[in-house]
């Protein structure tokens, strides 16, 4: 059952075995697994609840306006020679899974080995994770993008990669019967993308989970080291004004508000401060698109939103992947005004996009800003800058090999190149990273997992060090950058946390969550 904010007309108090804060990739998995195990679960989600009947008919701007945090422009402020990075983070029931590209990768083995060897997290071995991966992938109906969904630009890039001897492959995505309308970023109008809204949360509801939308968790109630519940504020969806209070009594609280807001909730509640790691170690997978213009039309919006990736450079921490956001965003991110803007617009059918994303060793930090707004900062290290520029250069090379007439780089100078030899101008020593237009969709690591309480916020099973009953199960626990889209990693880790929780920390179920009364 999903209860929206306007259905809560007074202060309410409810009792449940588990209270989950956040309904994205992590929270939905925990809710589903625990409710299936027979426990009463209440989910609190700050965003609203929308279905394909809503976002399926919205224009992109409205989707950006409603489904994203801060209209899709949550800034991570660059410190030093670092670009300001805009984070795309969902804010709705289903979280970012409703608005992501649906790309599914298992956590690379070398990353798991690194976590085991360097951080001592021996529980997350490939064998141990496999069961969780299988579970998540079957739930999300992950499958390979069929050939007919590649657009013309991708076909040319595939051929170019073959000529250059670069390995690449069609992506795995949690999309079934895709209509190729290329608007995954704004909410799939056909629910072909199997977001957690139509998979895990639907299933969780059938097991009795109550989901409160428009409800911001503000206070984690505790007595000493024991968690007693959560106090939340029901907010007006249109204005963001707090209306009523909702109190959830539960001895287990699972924080899954995402890598930006989970540390914010901890910091606002002055919890888990001993490690000094809350809000630190933010990695984002900095990414950028390179556009290319062909002589003939390629209609890049006809096909899958994302369908193909070059894997050749993954050992270097570079992933090249196709992405076509929308003509509006493509034209908005290309330079120029007046005549040049007109020319670009007239040739929009000829312009394709391909992205480069890096696995970052640089880190950022989340701090509390005004009210419930986070202040996010990020400092890009020189080695990541070099890697990032190399990724852009590789995409440029591929475009020229594919026959592009000119390419558009996401930086003011040099912005447009017409010959492959001009790519030599992408020189880390000469280009200021701060002037590159950079985005990111994968914030991770701000409450990282680890063995040592002084160097990590949660243990290998998601429990916050030193607090009984508080768990974290979202991207914030992922200890380092994973070098691939992290949806499956986050969900698999959340699955294991939920399984463990069901096995060890939750006693007999108290039945379904129940309304205790009203107050105030």
């Amino acid at each position: 059952m999903i209860i929206s904010g306007d259905q809560v007309t007074r202060n309410e108090e409810i009792q449940a075995d588990v209270c989950v804060i956040g309904s994205g990739c992590g929270g939905s998995v925990v809710a589903r697994e625990l409710s299936e195990a027979g426990h009463s679960v209440v989910v609190l989600e700050e965003g609203g609840h929308y279905t394909r009947e809503d976002y399926g008919t919205w224009r992109p701007s409205k989707s950006m306006n409603i489904l994203y945090r801060e209209n899709g422009a949550l800034p991570a402020l660059g410190i030093g020679d670092t670009p300001n990075i805009y984070l795309l983070v969902g804010k709705c029931v289903g979280g970012s899974s409703l608005v992501n590209g649906g790309v599914c990768w298992r956590t690379p083995e070398r990353v798991l080995v690194d976590w085991r060897d360097r951080l001592g997290i021996s529980e997350l071995t490939l064998e141990a994770m496999d069961r969780a991966f299988d579970r998540v992938e079957s739930e999300l109906q992950v499958g390979r993008v069929p050939e007919h969904l590649h657009n013309e630009g991708v076909r040319r890039l595939q051929a170019a990669a073959l000529r250059k001897g670069w390995s690449g492959r069609a992506l795995d995505r949690n999309v079934v019967d895709c209509d190729a309308c290329c608007r995954c970023l704004f909410g799939c109008p056909h629910d072909a993308k199997r977001s957690v809204l139509v998979t895990y949360l639907e299933s969780a509801q059938s097991f009795g989970t109550r989901i409160y939308s428009d409800c911001r968790a503000e206070k984690i109630i505790r007595k000493g080291n024991r968690i007693l519940g959560v106090r939340a504020r029901v907010i007006d969806r249109r204005t963001g004004i707090g209306l009523h209070h909702l109190r959830v009594r539960s001895e287990i609280v699972v924080l899954a508000a995402g890598s930006i807001h989970t540390p914010l909730v901890l910091m606002k509640n002055r919890l888990a401060r001993k490690s000094g790691q809350v809000g630190r170690n933010l990695t984002v997978h900095p990414s950028a698109r390179v556009y290319a213009r062909f002589d003939d039309p390629i209609d890049p919006w006809k096909g899958s939103f994302q369908s193909y990736a070059i894997e050749e450079f993954r050992p270097e921490g570079i992933q090249l992947i196709n992405i076509y956001p929308s003509p509006s965003i493509v034209l908005g991110t290309m330079g120029g005004f007046g005549v040049q803007a007109r020319q670009d617009a007239e040739r929009v059918r000829h312009i394709g996009a391909f992205g480069g994303m890096i696995s970052d060793v640089s880190t950022g930090r989340v701090r509390p800003g005004f009210g419930w707004n986070p202040l996010v900062t990020y400092r890009m290290l020189p080695q990541d800058k070099a890697k990032f520029l190399r990724a852009l250069r590789l995409v440029g090379e591929l475009w020229f090999e594919a026959g592009a007439r000119e390419i558009y780089l996401p930086m003011p100078d040099p912005a447009i190149m017409t010959r492959p030899d001009q790519l030599d101008r992408i020189d880390p020593d000469k280009i200021q990273a701060s002037r590159i237009e950079c985005g990111a969709q994968h914030p991770l690591g701000t409450c990282r997992m680890g063995i040592e309480p002084k160097q990590s916020v949660v243990g290998p099973w998601g429990q916050v060090h030193g607090l009984e009953g508080l768990y974290i199960a979202d991207g914030s626990v992922v200890p380092t950058s994973v070098a691939v889209n992290p949806q499956i990693t986050i969900m698999a880790m959340a699955t294991r946390i939920a399984w463990r929780l069901a096995e060890t920390n939750l006693g007999r179920s108290s039945g379904s969550s129940r309304h205790v009364g009203s107050f105030g």
Binding site: W58, I66, N84, F186, G332, G338, V348
Partner: protein, 333 residues
């Protein structure tokens, strides 16, 4: 002698009256009238309290109370001081109102300058008579240099503290009332929420006309759409920090020509080619903050303009969809 004398500041009060009127003008300048009963009445409540205190003090120490204007101690009645109070509030109010309406009609900036100047005068007066604030005694004592410092007079200080607390409570209460009214207004579903002022919306509109010039989507040229209004509604859900940042960006665009162009003028008053130059200069600005906020602004505008199916169709971008939920590009607004 607790109330041997007391501090009252007619010149400052005079200016408060002017300022109060000037600020009211900003709210009501389109239909100016002196009989703005509501604000005028609230002003009376404030000034009334102030004068009640003044009259009380006058009874105790008439010499000091009139020393600003009178060469010698004069025995004035309470009614005279009350009358002065009326004049000191009503006349400055009227004066401020007349000046304010004239200034606002010229430009909000002129009004701002007048208010700013008045504040300057207020501080100047305060500094000029600072020594008289700081001592307590009769006029003679003051002139003889035997008056005591104000801060040594604990009972008087207590009274001043209470007065300050009362005044603060009044101000805080007023702010609370304003916030409550704002909240009620926001919760009204018929209220159209806007993020930016009309001036800023005009800047956005002018910007949009350069971004989407005649020639693309000529049937749907940005000049025929109110993108400023759309942008304002689009941004209204952003956190206030972002709105402030973008709002300042619009101001920066509007006044950037004063910084970089030889022919100064506001952005909205420049010709198309000059506007293009200004926008190019901002896009390639060396300031990372300017560059990145400008980038968001441009993307947001493009998002609003290029999502229209009819505009996209003019450049050949036709989306398809199937089933009952056709692609949202073609959906209703």
């Amino acid at each position: 002698m607790i109330f041997a004398t007391f501090v009252i500041d007619p010149p400052a009060l005079f200016l408060v009256g002017v300022l109060y009127a000037l600020m009211l003008v900003h709210v009501e300048w389109r239909s100016p009238t002196l009989s703005l009963a509501g604000p005028f009445g609230w002003g009376w409540l404030f000034v009334g309290g102030f004068y009640a205190l003044a009259i009380l003090c006058y009874q105790r120490a008439p010499a000091w109370m009139t020393m600003y204007f009178l060469p010698d101690e004069t025995s004035w009645s309470v009614w005279v001081l009350g009358y002065l109070g009326l004049v000191l509030y009503a006349v400055p109010y009227a004066l401020g109102f007349v000046v304010g309406v004239g200034a606002r009609r010229r430009s909000p900036w002129v009004l701002g300058i007048v208010i700013f100047s008045s504040l300057g005068v207020l501080f100047w007066v305060g500094i000029t008579v600072l020594d008289r604030y700081q001592v307590v005694g009769t006029r003679e004592e003051f002139l003889a240099g035997t008056a005591r410092p104000l801060w040594d007079h604990t009972e008087l200080m207590r009274l001043l503290l209470l007065g300050t607390l009362g005044l603060s409570a009044w101000v805080v209460g007023g702010i609370g009332l304003a916030l409550r009214n704002r909240r009620r207004r926001l919760l009204d579903p018929d209220q159209i929420l806007q993020a930016f002022s009309p001036v800023r919306r005009r800047v956005v509109q002018a910007f949009a006309c350069r971004l989407f010039p005649v020639g693309i989507g000529s049937a749907h040229h940005a000049g025929k759409m109110d993108l400023g209004e759309e942008m304002s509604r689009y941004m209204v859900r952003m956190p206030w920090m972002n709105r402030v940042g973008l709002g300042l960006m619009f101001d920066l665009i509007q006044f950037w020509p004063y910084v970089v162009r030889r022919k100064p003028g506001r952005f909205t008053s420049l010709c198309a080619s000059e506007q293009d130059r200004v926008l190019h200069a901002m896009e390639s600005s060396r300031s990372v903050i300017v560059q990145s906020i400008f980038h968001i602004l441009k993307v947001a505008l493009c998002l609003l303009y290029w999502e229209r199916p009819e505009v996209l169709a003019e450049v050949g971008a036709v989306y398809h969809g199937k089933g009952e939920h056709r692609s949202g590009w073609e959906g209703p607004e």
